[in-house]
């Protein structure tokens, strides 16, 4: 397949970078998942912690030193509601 300069330029222009914050958040996924696993395991083992999470998710997590991102919070809300 022939690639002249114009065609190459067009193809290089076609893939601008995704916003850095999006890329970083996706790269931190394994970390977030590990944190989620720790919180869920703790909630399963400790009824009082689970009740605190249901009453005030963000407050209860902050009190225990967790700093989950928004997506982890969303997943926790979903898990606690089910």
């Amino acid at each position: 397949m022939a690639y002249d300069e114009e065609r190459l330029a067009r193809l290089l222009q076609a893939l601008p970078p995704a916003p850095e914050a999006w890329v970083r958040a996706a790269q931190e996924l394994p970390l977030s998942r590990r944190e989620l696993d720790v919180i869920v395991a703790r909630a399963e083992a400790d009824a009082r912690f689970r009740e605190a999470l249901i009453a005030d998710l963000e407050g209860a997590l902050a009190a225990e030193g967790f700093e989950p991102d928004e997506r982890t919070l969303e997943r926790l809300r979903h898990l606690l509601a089910s």
């Binding site: 397949m1 690639y3 300069e5 970078p17 890329v23 996706a26 996924l29 394994p30």
Partner: protein
């Protein structure tokens, strides 16, 4: 590193490999969401994160490790379509027309990915210059300042790097010495 090698290292739990996987496909997923399906920024961000979350969760189920790109492409398409169907309750869209347009754009993005992957075989200088000028739309002055090279030489460097890239894509072995 090939896609198959990258998948194997991700499965082994190597964080650096996961970072590389996201970096390698982030433009592709972003391009499908924003260019092919024309999702608004907020929806595109959700699709982007959902896509990588699913890749992370389902990497073990990928049957052919070398088919990572088509798999990610298909995953992104499905997420975009779901998103559009959700929003079409408020604002109807002609799904057939949109999908036909999207497929044309995705075919172009696939070709662009092939070119982008070939960049990895060029010198770091060439990669930087071509990516900054074409994909990031930076001026000669910005590139010159960032890479500490005279801006008057950028145009000729771009031309030389394009020649090397073309040789590589056309199956010739380019000279990879710095430009």
């Amino acid at each position: 590193m090939s896609d198959a090698q990258l998948v194997a290292r991700c499965r082994a739990g190597e964080e650096a490999a996961w970072n590389e996987l996201v970096a390698r496909f982030s433009r592709y997923v972003y391009g499908i969401a924003v260019q092919a399906f024309r999702l608004p920024e907020h929806d595109a961000e959700d699709v982007f994160q959902d896509c990588f979350a699913r890749v992370y969760e389902n990497l073990d189920r990928l049957r052919d490790d070398s088919a990572l790109r088509p798999w990610i492409g298909q995953l992104t398409r499905r997420l975009c379509i779901d998103r559009l169907r959700g929003s079409s309750r408020e604002q109807p869209v002609d799904e057939e027309v949109l999908l036909a347009d999207a497929e044309d754009t995705i075919a172009r993005l696939d070709e662009a990915m092939t070119v982008h992957e070939a960049l990895a075989h060029l010198s770091a200088d060439c990669r930087e210059i071509l990516d900054r000028f074409f994909a990031q739309d930076q001026s000669y002055r910005t590139i010159g300042n960032a890479l500490d090279i005279p801006s008057g030489t950028i145009a000729s460097r771009i031309s030389r790097c394009l020649t090397k890239l073309r040789e590589l894509l056309e199956g010739k072995k380019p000279d990879v010495e710095p430009v």
